[in-house]
C-alpha cells in the first residue's frame, strides 16, 4: 500500500554525521564495576527504592518501584551488592545530583529467574499492560514517557493509527538505525504486541530515506511476519522525528495545540520501545539495557553499543577509545537537543541514545549572542509554525502572558531557530526559560488559590465559632437574667409591704445628699474661679455646671429641711429625769464635800482643787435643781401624780438580779455536769431567782411605760445643726491642713498664706464647737430621758417584729397545710409588717435625733473627771455583751427546737423573744458606740471601717495561704508558699495592731 507522504513547515538540514557510527555492528558494552541507577529516568514521579544498602541483587531484579500512575519500575542491570542509595550526578541539564541506587557489580552478571509469556494474546489486555509496566518500559526516543500509560490509551480513545517512529532525524545518532538493521524481528514482535493492545486500523513505520539498510531489513522481516503495516519512507529533514511532525508527515493531520496525538486517534511509539516491549513480553526481560551511539570527533571507534542502564559514561567512552585530550565537550543526546555534561561518572539511563565526544571544531563554544536583526529566518524553519522572533522578545522582556498567547507551549524546543539564527541568539534557551517561568507562576498561582481557599475557610470557621460563642453567651445571659428576675419577683412579693416603709425620706440620707451637693457646688465654683483667673477655655461650661449644681444643692437642702421639719421629735421635758439629775448632782456635791472635809482634816491633798470642784459641783447642783423646779413649775398642773420611781435604780436592780440568775445558772450547770447532789437544790434556787428577775423586769417595764415625758423640740434641732456646722468646719480644717501640708512639701510659696487660712479656720472651728457645747450645755438641763422614749420605741418595734415573725410562720404553716385561712393570714402578715416598718422607722428617727444629745449629755456629766470629747463607752465590754446575748438567744432557740415536740413551748418562746429584744438592744448600743469610734478614728484620718475590712482581708489571705500550704505539702513550691504566708501574716498582724489601737 502506498502512503502519501505529507510535509511539515520549516525544518533544517544539518550535517548528518551518522556514517561514523554505522560502520561497526552493535557491540556489547563491558560490564561496569559500578552500576548507578537514578530513581528517576522517566517522566513522572521518581520510583521508590525497594532495596537497602548491603543487599545483594540479581540482574533483572526490581530495585525501585513505580509510585503512582506515571512512573516506571527500575531493575538492576547486573548482579551485585547495593552499595548505597544516595545522591549522585545524573544526566540532567541542571547538573544536579539526585537519588540513585549504586550497585557494586560482582562480575557474575547473574540473571534473576525470568520467563516470557508464550501466548500473550491469551492474557487480558490490562494484565498484559501490567506485565509491560512491571518490566519498567519507558519511551526510549528521548522523553522517557512510561509506555504502559500510552498502551492504556486504547481504553478511552479510539486509536485508528499506530505510528512507529523510526525517523531518527538528529545528526550523529544511529542507535535506531542499527537496531533496525540488526533486530528487525524484535521490532516487529514489539509492534505486534502493541497493535494487539491498541487494535489500530493502520500501522505505519516512519523512516527517513537516509537509512536504506534499515528499510531493507525491516522489509525483509516484514515479509516473514503476518503484520500488516506500511513502511513509509520520508525525506530526511530535521525534525521529522518529532512526534507531531511525523504525524503530519504520515497522515497530514495536525495535532492541535495542548492535545495529545491520541485525541486525533494516533499513537506513536519509538522503535527502541517496541524492542523493549518485545523483550519484556517474549523473554520476561525488564528494560535493563539499550543501544547507545558513541560518536564524535574525539572517539577513536565510533559505534553503537548495547549498554546496561546505569553504566557510567566513562566506561563507554573508554570502550570506544575516546581521546580525552581531544574531547572538548561531551554531549548526551543529539547535537540539536542534547545536553552538555562535564562529569563522566554520570550514568546512562533509559533515554540515553547517544554520547558525542566532540572536539573544539565539532562542538565549539556558543558564540556571543548579538542583537536580533529581524531577519525572519527562525520563522522560516520553525516546524511548529510559531513566530520565534516574537517569542524571543516576549521571553526576554518577561512578557510571559503574551508569549503564552503566541503559543509558546507548542514549541518543541527542536533548536532549528537557534541553528539558523545569524545573531547566535540562544532562542531555545529563552523559550525554555519562559516556559519554566510560566509553569512556576501557574504552580504558585495554584498554591496561592489553594491557600486562599484554606485561609477563607479558616476565617469563616473562626467567624462562625465567634458567633456561636456569642450566641451561647447570650443564651446564658438570658437564662441568668430570667433566674435573677424570678428571684427578684420572689423578693418583691416577700417585702411588698415593708417596701412602703421606705417611702418616707430618710433624714440622714437627705442630709448627706445636701452636703454632697454643697461640696460639689463649692468645688465647681473653685474650678470656675480658677479658670476665670487663668483665662482658660470652657468657662462657659463651668458656669453652666455651677448653675446646675447650685440648683441641685438648693433642692437637696430644701428637701432636707422639709423632711427635718416634718418628723421633728416629740421630745418632752422629763421632770423625773430632771429631778434625778438634781439628786445625783446633790449626791455628788455631798460626796465632794465629804472628801474635802476629810482632806482638810488630814491636811494633805490639794485642798484648793477640791474646793474648786466642790464649788463647781455646787453650782451644777444648783442649776440642776433650778431646772427641775422650773420644769416642775411649768408642767406643774399637767404633771402626772406619780410615785417618783427611780427608773435607773429599777433597771440596775433588774440587771443585778439577772446577773445573779446567770451566775446561779452557771453554777447549777456545773453542778449538773459534775454530778453534784446539790444540783436539785440549785435548780430550785435558780427558778426562784428567775422568778425574782421576771418580777424586777416587769417592775422596770412598768415604770418605763409610766414615765412618759415630753422633750423640747427646738433644742434638738438646733443642737443638730450646730453639730453639723462644727463637723463641716472640722472637715474644712482637715482639708485645709492637708492642702497646706502638700504645699509645704512641694515648697509652694502659697504655704504661708495657707497656714494663715488654716489658723483662721481652726479659730472658726473652735468657735463653732464652743457654740455647740454651749447649746449642748443649755439643753442638758432640759435633757429628757430620751433613752426611755427610745427604749420604749425599740421594745415596740421588737414586739411587732416578733408578732410578724409568728404570723409569718403561722401563715407558712397554713399554706403548707393548704388551709383556706392562708389568704386572710397573708393579709394579716402584711398589716403587721407595715406596722413593724412604721415602728422601726419611728425608732430609728428617734435614735438619730437623740443619740448626739445622749452622748453629749454623758460626756457632759462626766466632764468633771476627764476630757469630755474623748469619753467613750468601753467597746470591748459592749461587744462582749452583744455576743453573750447572741449566745443566749441561740441557746434558747435550740432549747425551743428540742422541746418543740414537748408541751411547754410558750414560756420558752417568750423567753426567746425577750432575749432577742435584749440582744437587739445590746447590739444597737454597740453599733452606736462603734459608729462613734469610727467617727473618732476618722478625725485622725483613718477610716476604721476600711481598716477593719483590710484587716479581715489580710486575715483571709493568711488562711488562704495556710490552706494552700497544707494542700501543697508534696508540691515543689512549698518554700514559695511559705514565704507568701509569712508576708500575709505580717500584714495581717500589722493591720490587727492598728485596728486594736483605734478600737481600744
Amino acid at each position: 500500500m502506498n502512503v502519501k507522504v505529507h510535509s511539515f513547515h520549516g525544518g533544517i538540514h544539518p550535517p548528518e554525521n551518522k556514517k561514523q557510527s554505522t560502520g561497526a555492528p552493535i557491540g556489547m558494552a563491558p560490564l561496569p564495576k559500578r552500576i548507578i541507577l537514578p530513581l528517576q529516568q522517566h517522566i513522572g514521579l521518581p520510583a521508590d527504592a525497594v532495596v537497602k544498602k548491603g543487599e545483594r541483587v540479581l540482574k533483572g531484579q526490581l530495585v525501585a518501584e513505580a509510585i503512582g500512575r506515571i512512573s516506571a519500575n527500575i531493575h538492576a542491570s547486573t548482579s551485585g551488592t547495593v552499595v548505597s542509595v544516595d545522591h549522585h550526578a545524573v544526566p540532567h541539564i541542571s547538573g544536579m545530583s539526585a537519588d540513585c541506587i549504586i550497585i557494586e557489580a560482582d562480575g557474575e552478571d547473574e540473571w534473576i529467574s525470568h520467563q516470557g509469556l508464550n501466548d500473550y494474546t491469551s492474557l487480558p489486555k490490562p494484565e498484559l499492560i501490567e506485565y509491560i509496566r512491571k518490566a519498567g518500559v519507558a519511551g526510549m526516543g528521548g522523553a522517557g514517557f512510561p509506555t504502559d500509560v500510552k498502551l492504556h490509551l486504547g481504553d478511552d480513545h479510539i486509536v485508528n493509527t499506530l505510528i512507529i517512529n523510526a525517523a531518527e532525524c538528529e545528526p550523529y545518532i544511529t542507535a535506531d538505525d542499527m537496531l533496525m538493521r540488526e533486530r528487525a524481528e524484535e521490532i516487529l514482535g514489539g509492534i505486534e504486541i502493541i497493535s494487539h493492545l491498541l487494535k489500530p486500523l493502520h500501522i505505519m513505520v516512519g523512516i527517513e530515506d537516509n537509512k536504506p539498510q534499515a528499510i531493507r531489513a525491516l522489509h525483509a522481516a516484514l515479509d516473514k511476519s503476518e503484520l500488516n503495516l506500511d513502511i513509509v519512507i520520508i525525506p530526511t529533514k530535521y525534525p521529522s522525528g518529532g512526534e507531531k511532525q511525523l504525524i503530519k508527515l504520515l497522515t497530514g493531520v495536525e495535532v492541535p495545540g495542548g492535545k495529545i496525538p491520541a485525541d486525533v486517534g494516533i499513537v506513536c511509539q519509538n522503535v527502541g520501545t517496541t524492542t523493549a516491549v518485545h523483550r519484556a513480553v517474549k523473554h520476561g526481560e525488564p528494560l535493563i539495557s539499550r543501544i547507545v551511539t558513541i560518536s564524535g570527533a574525539a572517539t577513536a571507534h565510533p559505534q553503537n553499543l548495547e549498554a546496561r542502564i546505569g553504566t557510567p559514561f566513562a566506561e563507554l567512552l573508554d570502550h570506544c577509545g575516546v581521546k580525552r585530550e581531544l574531547m572538548h565537550r561531551l554531549v548526551v543526546g543529539g547535537p540539536m537537543m542534547g545536553i552538555t555534561v562535564d562529569n563522566e561518572q554520570i550514568p546512562m539511563i533509559k533515554t540515553t541514545n547517544c554520547l558525542i565526544a566532540g572536539n573544539a571544531q565539532e562542538l565549539p563554544p556558543q558564540p556571543h549572542a548579538q542583537s536580533c536583526i529581524r531577519c525572519g529566518m527562525c520563522e522560516q524553519v520553525c516546524p511548529a509554525e510559531l513566530l520565534p522572533q516574537q517569542l524571543h522578545w516576549f521571553a526576554k522582556g518577561r512578557e510571559f502572558e503574551k508569549a503564552k498567547h503566541h503559543n509558546l507551549f507548542d514549541c518543541i524546543e527542536c533548536g532549528a531557530c537557534s541553528y539558523v539564527c545569524p545573531s547566535n541568539i540562544p532562542l531555545v534557551q529563552y523559550y525554555r526559560f519562559a516556559k519554566a517561568e510560566i509553569r512556576q507562576e501557574d504552580a504558585e498561582q495554584r498554591k496561592a488559590d489553594h491557600a486562599r481557599i484554606r485561609f477563607e475557610a479558616r476565617q469563616e470557621r473562626l467567624e462562625r465559632e465567634k458567633t456561636e460563642k456569642e450566641e451561647r453567651r447570650k443564651i446564658r445571659a438570658a437564662e441568668a437574667a430570667r433566674n435573677q428576675a424570678a428571684k427578684k419577683d420572689a423578693a418583691v412579693a416577700k417585702s411588698a409591704t415593708p417596701a412602703a416603709a421606705d417611702a418616707p425620706l430618710d433624714l440622714k440620707q437627705l442630709k448627706t445628699n445636701a452636703a454632697v451637693a454643697r461640696t460639689k457646688l463649692k468645688k465647681a465654683e473653685k474650678a470656675l474661679s480658677n479658670a476665670q483667673a487663668k483665662g482658660l477655655d470652657g468657662v462657659d461650661t463651668l458656669q453652666d455646671t455651677v448653675r446646675q449644681l447650685q440648683t441641685k444643692s438648693d433642692t437637696a437642702q430644701q428637701a432636707y429641711e422639709q423632711a427635718q421639719q416634718a418628723p421633728a421629735p416629740v421630745a418632752t421635758v422629763d421632770i423625773k429625769q430632771l429631778k434625778t439629775n438634781a439628786a445625783v448632782a446633790r449626791t455628788k456635791l455631798k460626796k465632794a464635800e465629804k472628801i474635802l472635809a476629810a482632806a482638810q482634816e488630814s491636811g494633805d491633798g490639794d485642798i484648793a482643787e477640791l474646793q474648786a470642784s466642790v464649788t463647781q459641783l455646787a453650782a451644777k447642783s444648783a442649776t440642776a435643781e433650778k431646772a427641775f423646779k422650773d420644769a416642775d413649775a411649768g408642767t406643774g398642773d399637767t404633771a402626772p401624780a406619780q410615785p417618783a420611781v427611780d427608773l435607773e435604780a429599777l433597771k440596775a436592780d433588774a440587771e443585778a438580779i439577772k446577773a445573779k440568775v446567770d451566775k446561779a445558772e452557771k453554777a447549777w450547770k456545773a453542778a449538773v455536769e459534775s454530778g453534784s447532789p446539790a444540783a436539785d437544790k440549785m435548780a430550785a434556787g435558780v427558778d426562784k431567782l428567775k422568778a425574782k428577775q421576771a418580777e424586777a423586769e416587769q417592775q422596770y417595764q412598768q415604770a418605763l411605760a409610766s414615765a412618759q415625758v415630753q422633750q423640747p423640740a427646738v433644742s434638738a434641732a438646733r443642737l443638730d445643726e450646730l453639730k453639723a456646722d462644727a463637723a463641716a468646719i472640722k472637715a474644712k480644717v482637715a482639708k485645709a491642713k492637708k492642702a497646706w501640708k502638700f504645699a509645704v512639701e512641694s515648697g509652694s510659696p502659697a504655704a504661708d498664706k495657707m497656714a494663715a487660712g488654716v489658723d483662721k479656720l481652726k479659730a472658726k472651728q473652735a468657735e463653732a464647737e464652743q457654740e455647740y457645747q454651749q447649746a449642748l450645755a443649755s439643753t442638758q438641763a432640759l435633757q429628757p430621758a430620751a433613752t426611755i422614749n427610745l427604749d420604749e420605741l425599740k421594745a415596740d418595734a421588737e414586739a411587732i417584729k416578733a408578732k410578724v415573725d409568728k404570723a409569718e410562720k403561722a401563715w407558712k404553716a397554713a399554706i403548707e397545710s393548704g388551709s383556706p385561712a392562708a389568704d386572710k393570714m397573708a393579709a394579716g402578715v402584711d398589716k403587721l409588717k407595715s406596722k413593724q416598718a412604721e415602728a422601726e422607722q419611728e425608732y430609728q428617727q428617734a435614735l438619730a435625733s437623740t443619740k448626739p444629745q445622749q452622748l453629749a449629755a454623758d460626756s457632759a456629766a462626766e466632764s468633771d473627771n476627764g476630757p469630755a470629747a474623748v469619753t467613750l463607752v468601753d467597746m470591748k465590754e459592749l461587744k462582749q455583751q452583744v455576743s453573750i446575748m447572741r449566745t443566749k438567744l441561740k441557746k434558747a432557740e435550740k432549747q425551743l427546737e428540742e422541746s418543740a415536740a414537748g408541751s411547754d413551748t410558750s414560756t420558752l418562746t417568750t423567753e426567746i423573744e425577750q432575749l432577742k429584744q435584749r440582744h437587739a438592744e445590746a447590739k444597737a448600743t454597740f453599733d452606736a458606740a462603734e459608729a462613734d469610734k469610727i467617727a473618732a478614728a476618722a478625725q485622725q484620718g483613718i477610716d476604721l471601717k476600711q481598716l477593719k475590712i483590710d484587716a479581715a482581708l489580710a486575715r483571709a489571705a493568711v488562711t488562704k495561704a495556710e490552706r494552700a500550704l497544707s494542700k501543697a505539702d508534696d508540691n515543689v513550691n512549698v518554700s514559695e508558699l511559705e514565704q507568701s504566708l509569712v508576708v500575709a501574716k505580717q500584714q495581717a498582724d500589722n493591720l490587727n495592731i492598728t485596728l486594736e489601737r483605734f478600737s481600744e
Binding site: S94, Q361, Q370, R439
Partner: protein, 198 residues
C-alpha cells in the same frame, strides 16, 4: 415644523427607552463586591503572612485598591509588584525593605521531639496547615504550608524551623540566558564556526 416636532419626540422617546433600559440593567446586573480587589488579591501570593502590615492578602488587596503602595509584599517579591503595576497601570516600585526582603521560599518544620503540644502554632497558622491536638505532637502539612513564618514566633519551645524548599530535578528551572555582548555586525569575530558545521 411637524417634521422637527416628530424628530424631537422620537429622540425623546428613544432617550426615555434607553434610560429605563440602562437604569434597569444597572440594578439588575450590579457587580457584587469589588472586582478590582479580587483581581489584585489573585495576584498576591496568599501566604497570609501579614508582612505588609495588613491581616492577610485580601485586606492588603483592598488597601491597594484604595491607594496603598504596591511594594509591601516580600513573599511576592518583584514579580508580584510587576504584576500589580501592570494591572493597576502604575509604576513598579522596588520592594519596600521596611516590610522585609524577598526570601527564599521556605516551609515550616516542627522538630517533633521537642514539641510540647501547646497548640499555639495551630492557632497562629492562617491556612490550617498544622495538625495536632493539645498535649499531642504537632506537625506541618508540607503541601499546605505557605511559609508565612507566623507559627515560629508563638512557639514557646522554639521547635519550629523554616526550611528553605530545596530544588529537585522536578522543580528545577531553566535559567534566563545570559544576554550576550550586543556587538554590532561588523564587530563579529570571524572564523567562529557554528556547531554542526563540521
Amino acid at each position: 415644523m411637524s417634521a422637527v416636532l416628530i424628530a424631537v419626540f422620537v429622540l425623546l422617546a428613544l432617550g426615555l427607552v434607553f434610560g429605563i433600559l440602562l437604569g434597569y440593567s444597572s440594578i439588575r446586573f450590579k457587580v457584587q463586591g469589588n472586582p478590582l480587589a479580587d483581581q489584585v488579591d489573585s495576584l498576591l501570593p496568599q501566604t497570609q503572612c501579614g508582612q505588609c502590615s495588613y491581616p492577610g492578602c485580601r485586606p492588603y488587596a483592598e488597601a491597594i485598591v484604595n491607594g496603598e503602595a504596591i511594594n509591601k509584599c516580600p513573599p511576592g517579591g518583584m514579580s508580584t509588584i510587576e504584576a500589580l503595576a501592570d494591572l493597576l497601570d502604575v509604576e513598579a516600585l522596588p520592594l519596600d525593605a521596611e516590610h522585609g526582603e524577598e526570601q527564599v521560599q521556605a516551609i515550616a518544620y516542627i522538630r517533633e521531639d521537642e514539641c510540647i503540644g501547646c497548640t499555639k502554632c495551630i492557632q497562629a497558622c492562617p491556612v490550617d496547615a498544622i495538625l495536632g491536638a493539645a498535649k499531642q505532637m504537632h506537625t506541618v502539612i508540607e503541601s499546605e504550608c505557605t511559609g508565612c513564618d507566623l507559627c515560629v514566633e508563638p512557639c514557646p519551645v522554639d521547635c519550629i524551623d523554616m526550611i528553605p524548599i530545596e530544588t529537585t530535578l522536578n522543580t528545577w528551572q531553566w535559567p534566563s540566558p545570559k544576554p550576550g555582548i550586543e556587538l554590532i555586525a561588523t564587530d563579529r569575530t570571524p572564523g567562529i564556526a557554528r556547531g554542526g558545521d563540521a
